[in-house]
Symmetry: C2
Subunit: 146 residues, 2 copies
């Protein structure tokens, strides 16, 4: 089996699905180091009543247990929605090596902001399994309005 970007993003989507089933905004993330998943998480802001409990923040916090350090230059983070500025700021402090996200976030995404919020060395790839991630979010907010 080839462990490509779509493979890891599919696992991030499974995390997002868990959030969906728990009534959380469906965003999931997977942190990968040398082809190995060292953390995965989904949004838990409602469960913890904590605005900082985004999938990305939970992954960054959990990474230390696996790596023994707080920097992630050799890691890739897969996340189903473009990170917000809070999360992008956390990824910048962590010196994340590579960021791959699925759906863009026109309203809250970090990329609306100047100067760039990510660490200058972080590589970015957008749009991996974008349709699936966007459909899950759309379904969630549609259900919420009904």
């Amino acid at each position: 089996m080839i462990l490509d970007d779509a493979y890891f993003m599919r696992i991030a989507l499974q995390e997002a699905q868990k959030a969906y089933e728990q009534g959380e905004i469906p965003v999931g993330a997977v942190l990968v180091h040398e082809q190995k998943i060292i953390a995965k998480a989904h949004n838990q802001t409602e469960r913890f009543l904590d605005v900082t409990a985004h999938a990305e923040i939970l992954c960054v916090t959990a990474a230390t247990q696996a790596l023994g350090g707080k920097y992630l230059p050799d890691c890739t983070l897969y996340v189903t929605l473009e990170p917000c500025v809070m999360c992008a700021g956390a990824l910048a402090w962590a010196q994340l090596g590579r960021l791959v996200f699925a759906a863009s976030d026109e309203k809250r995404g970090y990329s609306r902001h100047q100067p760039s919020i990510l660490h200058p060395k972080t590589q970015v790839k957008a749009g991996v399994l974008e349709a699936e991630a966007a459909a899950l979010l759309k379904s969630f907010f549609k259900k919420l309005r009904n």
Copy 2:
């Protein structure tokens, strides 16, 4: 005793001093709701090996226990250094009512970024006990270089 901005900032400075003594970058924060301190914290990124363990994030996370909710529209956060984008993003999600900070951060401060990262309703006051906060930071980095 008058519980003014300088009063609460002095307590934030005491938190920063604790960080200093623990070898952490000396930043402290105090979260106040109706003249009452509901959370205080200092930077603990080294202790937890976690880039997200900034004083502001720790206060936002702790606030839920006191308030039973995750929004802070009636709260003031006092912090000894201008928040970074990660923390400002967290304060935006929390819909913080008022932010008071001491020293500005020319390199990492949220206010360098456009469009504004804070919630549009958050009031901001800068420069309260700025000299004391800046001196503590300067002393820390000087010690680090020796």
